[in-house]
């Protein structure tokens, strides 16, 4: 649970829990403002000013991260868990060379001694992420690289210390479509070759369905459904997920787009009790707004925060 530290208690994230297995790619889907980025930041203890974790736990291999001392957190950041942000332009320090920034994690975590060793390692990393002319890139400044190259460099930065878990916050949203595909392929390679788990945050359900092993759907600060890609895409259990899928235009087919009626609630407006989606849900029941709803299991590994699932273990079909 994440909310403002002190002051009015408006919760931004509540009722979130998911597990990431080693080597898997988990997609965290949701629209703007649902709190996906905040989720990632709270894992690393990097919440912006004014926000704090009120309750909850984040465990890495059994080790509790919430409330851990700064030093312990600093040792984890970059080394075991790394993050990639959305806009590569802003994430790179304009005054330092690429080489220096990629190698920074190596220096911080003391993984390479001496300038020669660091330099060699950085060249390796830059090659791994597919940057042409890695030696030359090293001495260039961020503004001299294109958006796609910058994002590759950022991925190299994240991978430098060899993390087990990579948190990717909308890594391709700011890039052109063709470059998007390349970056996603790169991430897939990283996952396969290094065995690195990835949490991919995105609003693009289609993208997630192509690259992820499992998907968790977020709405208004809560996880409302999670399961394997196949289950989510073909047998969505939660009405919100169903609505999202219905919104997706499909290539080659002329169809009427069906938007979900209503608007995403702001954190103030979210119902304190009950399902946050209820006001917009056509299958709404009386009980939906009266009590806290847990994640109910629909099939093995596939859960949804919806009373309809509890009533009938078979998922409700997509609205016709």
């Amino acid at each position: 649970m994440v909310g403002p530290a002190g002051g009015r208690p408006v919760l931004l994230l509540r009722s979130l829990s998911f597990v990431v297995e080693p080597g898997e790619i988990l997609g965290l889907i949701g629209e703007s403002g649902c709190g996906k980025s905040l989720t990632l930041l709270s894992v690393l203890g990097l919440l912006p000013r004014g926000l704090a974790v009120q309750a909850g736990s984040v465990r890495l291999d059994g080790m509790e991260l919430i409330g851990a001392p700064q030093r312990a957190m600093a040792a984890i950041r970059g080394r075991r868990v790394a993050i990639i942000f959305q806009d590569p332009q802003n994430c790179l320090n304009p005054s330092f060379t690429i080489g220096r920034q990629v190698g920074e994690a190596l220096c911080i975590h003391k993984l390479a001694r001496g300038r020669r060793a660091v330099r060699d390692r950085v060249v390796e990393l830059l090659t791994e992420v597919g940057l042409p002319d890695p030696e030359g890139c090293m001495d260039r400044f961020p503004h001299q690289l294109s958006g796609g190259m910058q994002q590759r460099a950022l991925i190299a930065t994240a991978l430098a210390a060899g993390p087990q878990l990579l948190l990717a916050d909308e890594p391709t949203t700011a890039l052109d479509v063709s470059v998007q595909a390349q970056i996603m392929e790169l991430l897939r390679d990283v996952n396969r070759q290094r065995g690195c788990s990835i949490v991919l945050v995105t609003h693009d359900l289609a993208l997630a369905s192509q690259f992820c092993d499992r998907i968790a759907v977020m709405y208004a600060g809560q996880i409302v459904e999670e399961g394997s890609v196949a289950n989510i895409v073909h047998r969505p259990a939660h009405p919100y997920t169903q609505g999202l899928l219905a919104c997706l235009p499909m290539l080659g087919r002329r169809q009427q787009l069906r938007p979900i009626p209503g608007e995403i609630p702001t954190p103030d407006e979210v119902l304190a009790v009950g399902c946050a989606f209820a006001p917009r849900c056509r299958h709404r029941l009386q009980e939906c707004t009266s009590a806290h709803i847990e994640l109910h299991e629909a099939t093995d590994g596939h859960r949804a925060r919806c009373l309809l699932v509890r009533h009938s273990p078979q998922p409700v079909g997509p609205p016709t």
């Binding site: 690393l44 990097l46 700064q70 600093a74 040792a75 984890i76 950041r77 970059g78 080394r79 790394a82 993050i83 942000f85 806009d87 802003n90 994430c91 790179l92 320090n93 304009p94 005054s95 330092f96 920074e104 994690a105 911080i108 975590h109 400044f141 503004h143 950022l154 930065t157 430098a160 210390a161």
Partner: protein, 336 residues
């Protein structure tokens, strides 16, 4: 191309210098009364002939444009005329007073930067805290205080009332090392003379603080706002995400970029610092170029005043040039 841009900057600087020189020269010539009168006037014993001869020796009998040409010619030889008060070449007089002013200016700058840097960074990191608000109030006060008043107030408190520090002058009598540099602090160190060092430092404190206070106030505010802007940027968050300590993220990343706009302001404030030099030296009886300038104005000592104004303007122009050059070093996005 780097060389030609640098060259054109130098050229325009030189042109400005020339314009200043001419301006000062002309201004001086418009003064009512001339130096010869002042020196000899009233004695009644000097004949017209002697007066004429004296005037001629200072070229004062020639038409102004001709005087200007002569002056410029002499300037190229490093000769800016004779000081009528000191009876020596004006350049010599000015050079003698220069180390005192230079030492004071350097001390003031170090003080200003040395305090403004941690202050500005801390205010940004702890923005909104009581510290930040106190620093902000202090900086407002700093830019509202005239240098002459601050100097006098400091003297009254620290020298007269508390007697911790001396009232004025550069050093205690007899404690001036006859050193090579003319910078008392350096000379004292070179001579390993602790008494002289203590005396020089004690005398330096109040004037340096007075002279540097405005720069301190302005720099800390600029640094604070630049830092706040940088700290909010994503590369800082990313640095933390790589495992950097807070200090590393603040100093190595944010501060590095926040310095860029601060450097420009620093250059501007240096001009103000130099301008305030005259006032501070007058208040503290500091035997530097500033005090020389003031007394020379009253004495209508043309050559010296010209030289001093030229010196100030030249220093300022050179500093600005250096600042521009350093800007290209600091910010990789800017190239000459």
């Amino acid at each position: 191309m780097r060389i030609t841009t640098l060259g054109s900057r130098l050229l325009s600087t030189l042109l400005v210098m020339l314009a200043i020189t001419i301006f000062v020269f002309l201004v001086m010539r418009w003064l009512p009364g001339d130096p010869v009168d002042r020196i000899l006037g009233g004695s009644g014993q000097v004949s017209q002939q002697q007066l004429r001869a004296l005037r001629a020796s200072y070229h004062l009998d020639q038409p102004v444009p001709l005087q200007l040409v002569n002056f410029l010619g002499d300037l190229l030889h490093g000769d800016i005329g004779e000081s009528v008060v000191y009876n020596r070449p004006a350049s010599q007089v000015i050079l003698e007073h220069l180390p005192a002013t230079a030492e004071l200016a350097v001390a003031a700058t170090f003080f200003a930067i040395g305090v403004a840097a941690p202050l500005g960074v801390a205010a940004a990191v702890w923005r909104g805290s009581w510290f930040d608000r106190l620093a902000s109030a202090g900086s407002y006060l700093g830019i509202s205080m005239p240098g002459f008043w601050l100097g006098i107030a400091l003297i009254l408190v620290f020298a007269v009332h508390l007697r911790w520090l001396p009232v004025g002058g550069r050093a205690d009598p007899g404690a001036e090392p006859a050193g090579p540099t003319g910078f008392l602090v350096l000379d004292a160190i070179l001579h390993l003379d602790l008494t002289a060092l203590a005396s020089a430092l004690a005398h330096l404190i109040l004037p340096a603080v007075t002279m540097g206070s405005v720069m301190l106030a302005v720099l800390s505010r600029v640094l604070r706002s630049s830092m706040i802007e940088e700290l909010d940027k994503e590369y800082v968050a990313l640095a933390l995400a790589k495992g950097a300590s807070r200090r590393r993220a603040i100093v190595c990343h944010a501060l590095r970029n926040a310095l860029i706009p601060s450097v420009t302001v620093f250059g501007l404030e240096l001009g103000t610092l130099l301008g305030g030099n005259m006032v501070v030296e007058t208040v503290f009886g500091w035997p530097g170029v500033g005090q020389l300038a003031v007394s020379s104005i009253f004495a209508r000592d043309y050559a010296v005043v010209q030289g001093v104004v030229l010196l100030y303007a030249l220093t300022f122009a050179v500093i600005n040039l250096l600042i521009d050059i350093s800007y290209t070093k600091l910010d990789p996005r800017v190239s000459f």
